[in-house]
Amino acid sequence: MSSVSGKPGIEILRISVTLIALAVVVAVVLGAVHALTAPVAARLEEQRLSETLNGLIEGAAVIEETEGFEPSITTGNVQVPVKTVYVAEDAAGAVLGYCVEVLPFGYEDVIDMIVAVNAGGAVCGVEIISHSETPGSGAKIESDEDFRQSVYGLDDTASAVKSDSAGKGEVQVISGATVSSTAYINGVNAAIEVVNRLEQEVSN
């Protein structure tokens, strides 16, 4: 298979041509598959999102993205990035609530969660989209229903505590999963703050 011609220039040319030809073929195949799968993926993604949002704020006629929110909120000495804010309105156009997607940093990586805050400024639902927390400990923020719902009804910044008797404005962390729980609570706090600021702007 090795060429017998002595000129290294021809050899390099042959190699380059083969390499580029293969690269082009691969890129074209990938491009074709992408063109086929991207629309499907987008449609499924939208479906999932709409199901989640409608599940969080019931009875909403319209849920739309909105702008004018801060890209990150500082709470508890930590910066929580805010990815998207959706406004949920009923058929009459009155605001039912907001869904805020925040990305607090947990134990391993970012936790993607959507916090639903009703028009009164109180948390009415939380949905965790994705996380990389440790199964068996940190991942309990998703599986432990009691913990997940312990933030429901909060309308102001809450602090994470370890004690059993959590008072008003305090949320007990999952034992053995302090970092993940704190991240979760930070996410909720950030969402509450975002909604408060949005409502302030509206009333101004």
Binding site: V26, A27, L30, H34, V78, F105, Y107, E108, T178, V179
Partner: protein, 198 residues
Amino acid sequence: MEQFDLGTIIAFAIGAILVENIVLSRLFGCGSFFGLTRKKETAVGMGILLIAIMGLSSLFTYCVYQWVLVPFQLEYLRTMAFMLLIALLVQLAEMVIKKYLPALYHMLGIYLPLMAGNCAVLGVCLSSIERNYNLASSVLYAVFSAVGFLLVAWVFTLVRDRIEENDNIPKSFQGFPITLIAAALLAFGFMGFSGVQI
């Protein structure tokens, strides 16, 4: 990372080296970790080489991603593009080392080209994209991660020396198994850094 004062950089470094150590926490680069930690010189040599390769690949992959893939909406080609870049870099590094540092070349043997098949480099480059790091953060993250690798690789050679001297290891555990368990203990130790948020 928005501000670039020394404090933030140090915090970032501690995060990448200790809290989120590339081998013991993120579990990247295990192949090289176990393959090249028999002798101190090999481990250190590879660690330093990795710093250079990580720095360069993060630089190039970031540029290619932001300036070529994203504008043309070809993000789905990132795996291919990154792997090719890294393979090319490793090939170049191999040629340079062969010429200027032949001793190191002989020590690293087959593991140098295998660094192209190393989770660490690709993993770090992909992570930077996923976390939306800017150019400086990406390069610093890559370099600090490699420093973290160097640190644990060097420590692990010391551990492995002790294992070599030990005559009491059961036959079933000799070699690879006990090395893995030693790594487990080291990982356990590093867990003490976890959750540190600066």
